[in-house]
Subunit: 130 residues, 2 copies
Amino acid sequence: MARAATTSDAFNAVAEPRRRAILNYLAMQERPVGEIVDSLGLEQPSVSKHLRVLLEVGLVNVRRDGRRMLYRTNAEAIRPLHEWTETFERFWRHQLSRIKERAEGKSNPPKDSGPHFIPRRKHDYDGNKN
Amino acid sequence: MARAATTSDAFNAVAEPRRRAILNYLAMQERPVGEIVDSLGLEQPSVSKHLRVLLEVGLVNVRRDGRRMLYRTNAEAIRPLHEWTETFERFWRHQLSRIKERAEGKSNPPKDSGPHFIPRRKHDYDGNKN
DNA sequence: TTGACATATTCCTATATAGGAATGTATTGT
DNA sequence: ACAATACATTCCTATATAGGAATATGTCAA
């Protein structure tokens, strides 16, 4: 199977950075499509398509004003994401304090060096050809 | 172009529901792959693949313990998502109070009926054939 | 009614999955 | 050294984009 549709839920919809940019832009007040296009520097059809996705998952609302369509972020629909991430808040607090403790006890703090892949042990490189 | 890779950032990685389930499961304590498989009822190769994605974006850490690999959620990596959603918190608070005001002033509260598509006006259906 | 303006949709395509099946790799106990 | 255990990776495929280009649809003004 392929990935779930972008319209399947808010998590999938906001995975696209431009859609997040649009949501940010439309949070304060409603705006017509043209302004989104100009402000974010995207192609008009692209904006329309992103708005369609956002609309389908309820992340934005629309209202017609003459020939323009006024879109606006529906913040309420972002709440589930906020709540999911929130359940991890206490964990990163714990992790931070642990890191702090170490930093105080030693010099040269571990210095998070990005994703930590586990090296394979396939060979020992101990000089023995085996 | 296709959608961005699931490994391009945390937003894309957590769009998949099973990966969120895994993150939830691994938040409290590290666990070997086998336990994830049993507890969440997923196929082992599937779990391994999801873990790989999560590892690449730094959402989990690993550590080897004999023949087992102990994975654990790196809550810190979820923080950016939390912070992004947080910027909308004040908006949904405002929206809620507005809704409350209406609910108190009138009977029949609007009753959120899901995504609100704007009906096309193409035809008026007013009885006139044109 | 016609033209201009504002948006939406369709078509086409390269790319990236996610799942299932099969297989590869690493590590320990004996 | 070998079997068993625990994971990871590869292969294959149906599906879903996201962007660009072209076009359709809707609405207002004269």
